[in-house]
Amino acid sequence: MKYLALIYSDESDATANPPEGSPEMEAIMQDYFAFGAAGGEAGVVLGGDALLPTPMATSVQVRDGETITTDGPFAETKEQLGGYYLLDCENLDEAIAWAARIPHAALGTVEVRPVIEFEQD
């Protein structure tokens, strides 16, 4: 089964999101490289990306044929989406075990959401 691991943390929390280039941030990046490598080798991690923070976000809506764009994320939330991984796992337990190894699981929250797989008939 495929799952999307959505990685959330508080952008304004310096522990969860240390400044770019700082030793703390370097350590977190190292942990992410290690996770990606282990996950790739296990055939579990199919892909993933880190995202620029929500100040860089643009929200798009189309209403009555009009495209409306707004600066920022779709909603103000306590924790914000910072990245994701696409996981291929046997079942939810396996997905949870891998999600728990994502560095921000300890610094924020990882939401594990099943991907809908449309059957080819």
């Binding site: 089964m1 796992c89 046997e90 079942n91 939810l92 337990d93 949870i96 594990v112 099943p114 008939d121």
Partner: protein, 414 residues
């Protein structure tokens, strides 16, 4: 068919239910399909057994009929890749004479898998409770709804939601790996404990099925002890439920009033249940793996040992609560600890613990906190403070019998 025969047949079906559903869940790979099939087979049983007699192996009978129904249903529906596999496997089981249910170990493993699946942390707790009562204890949706004072369609929706979560999110029916086992067992124990509490909090005026939740919890706890064979905490849970439930006939007066532990007629305590609870706790101790449920059982056992309230070993209870606080440093446990200390060492010592600002703040809206303070304040002669505390407790209580009890205590202060 008389109601008595119907009830007897329903009783047999319910007893076999977890074994049947567990086996079918493994066969069909889906709890939803398993329950539908089991339900159909149960209806056939109800229709035919009263006339033909209950078969020697009722569980195997129901499972076989359920498998046939499942095969029929799958054949009628559009067959996809998975369904062909499934039909193949099922056909084998029905025709090959291979009766999985003869393999006791396999069935017990399936039952454990079922329980762990129903009590998976990814399912919200109230749904875990409903699902366990439906799929493991075999209660009907209607019975569960009435037990929890919830409309039946709401409860039905809850069960649908839970099963959808299992299927949609890929929650597996597996025995957790060793490093997760104790943690996941604690979740199962928690669900059973919540069911027990729900029943324990039911008033005499409530429907019988509500009060019988304690019996269901005990049955589930017994099953867990049986299936896990040497889990001390599961034994602790069973012991605690038995020892607590032993007081059921003494807890309420003829007028439906609450009777506190110290005022209960101990002759009305169920001594058979107490003996059993003590024996189970003893077995748990011998495993040498202490834990919070065993501690709670030990506290209940200490009360059970006292022929009269004045014989209660409060020092022992205080020490047990102190240990329990170590496992569960919650405000309520600390409250109970303080009360035990007061009984062992005097009201002043207890009050000092209750006066802790952090505790007081955490329990500000908890009526039992104020009732406990009031009781101790009354003993030290601080009557005005005691009265205020009782009034605060009354303000915070919604339960009519409990309000009456508190008002009586307030009046007794003079």
């Amino acid at each position: 068919m008389t109601p008595r025969v119907e009830a007897a047949v329903a009783g047999v079906v319910r007893q076999e239910w977890s074994r049947v559903v567990a086996t079918l869940t493994r066969d069909l790979g889906s709890l939803d399909l398993a329950e539908d099939a089991a339900q159909e087979a149960a209806e056939t049983a109800l229709a035919t057994w009263p006339a033909q007699g209950v078969p020697d192996r009722p569980g195997a009978w129901i499972t076989t009929v359920a498998r046939r129904r499942a095969i029929d249903r799958l054949r009628r529906e559009r067959v996809g890749r998975h369904k062909a596999e499934l039909l193949g496997r099922l056909d084998e089981r029905v025709q090959g004479g291979h009766d999985h249910m003869d393999d006791e170990t396999a069935v017990r493993d399936d039952q454990l898998r079922l329980i762990f699946g129903c009590c998976h942390p990814a399912i919200r707790v109230e749904d875990q409770m409903a699902l366990t009562l439906r799929s493991v204890a075999g209660l009907t949706t209607s019975e569960i709804a009435r037990a929890f004072l919830i409309p039946e369609p709401t409860m039905a929706q809850r069960l649908v939601r839970a099963k959808r979560k299992i299927a949609g999110a890929g929650i597996p029916f597996v025995i957790p790996p060793d490093h997760e086992l104790l943690k996941r067992l604690a979740v199962v124990q928690g669900v059973i404990y919540l069911v027990f509490n729900e029943g324990y909090n039911a008033s005499v005026g409530d429907e019988l099925v509500r009060r019988e939740l304690c019996d269901e919890a005990i049955r589930l706890a017994r099953l867990l002890v049986d299936l896990t064979t040497d889990d001390a905490e599961s034994m602790g849970l069973l012991a605690m439920c038995l020892l607590t439930h032993s007081r059921r006939d003494a807890r309420v007066s003829a007028d439906g009033d609450v009777v506190l532990l110290e005022d209960q007629d101990r002759g009305r305590w169920d001594s058979g249940m107490i003996d059993e609870g003590m024996a189970v706790l003893e077995r748990a101790y011998r495993l040498g793996r202490p834990g919070p449920l065993q501690l709670q059982a030990a506290i209940a056992a200490t009360h059970a040992r006292a022929a009269e309230p004045q014989d209660t070993n409060w020092r022992s209870i205080a020490l047990l609560y102190e240990e329990l606080v170590g496992y569960r440093p919650t405000a309520v446990v600390r409250l109970n600890h303080a009360v035990a200390v007061a009984m062992a060492d005097g009201a002043d010592t207890g009050l000092a613990l209750l006066a802790d600002p952090e505790l007081a703040e955490a329990l500000e809206t908890y009526p039992y906190y104020h009732a406990a303070c009031a009781d101790l304040l009354g003993r030290t002669g601080a009557l005005d403070d005691a009265r205020s505390a009782y009034r605060r407790a009354i303000e915070l209580t919604e339960d009519a019998p409990e309000i009456r009890l508190l008002e009586a205590k307030l009046a007794a202060l003079g």
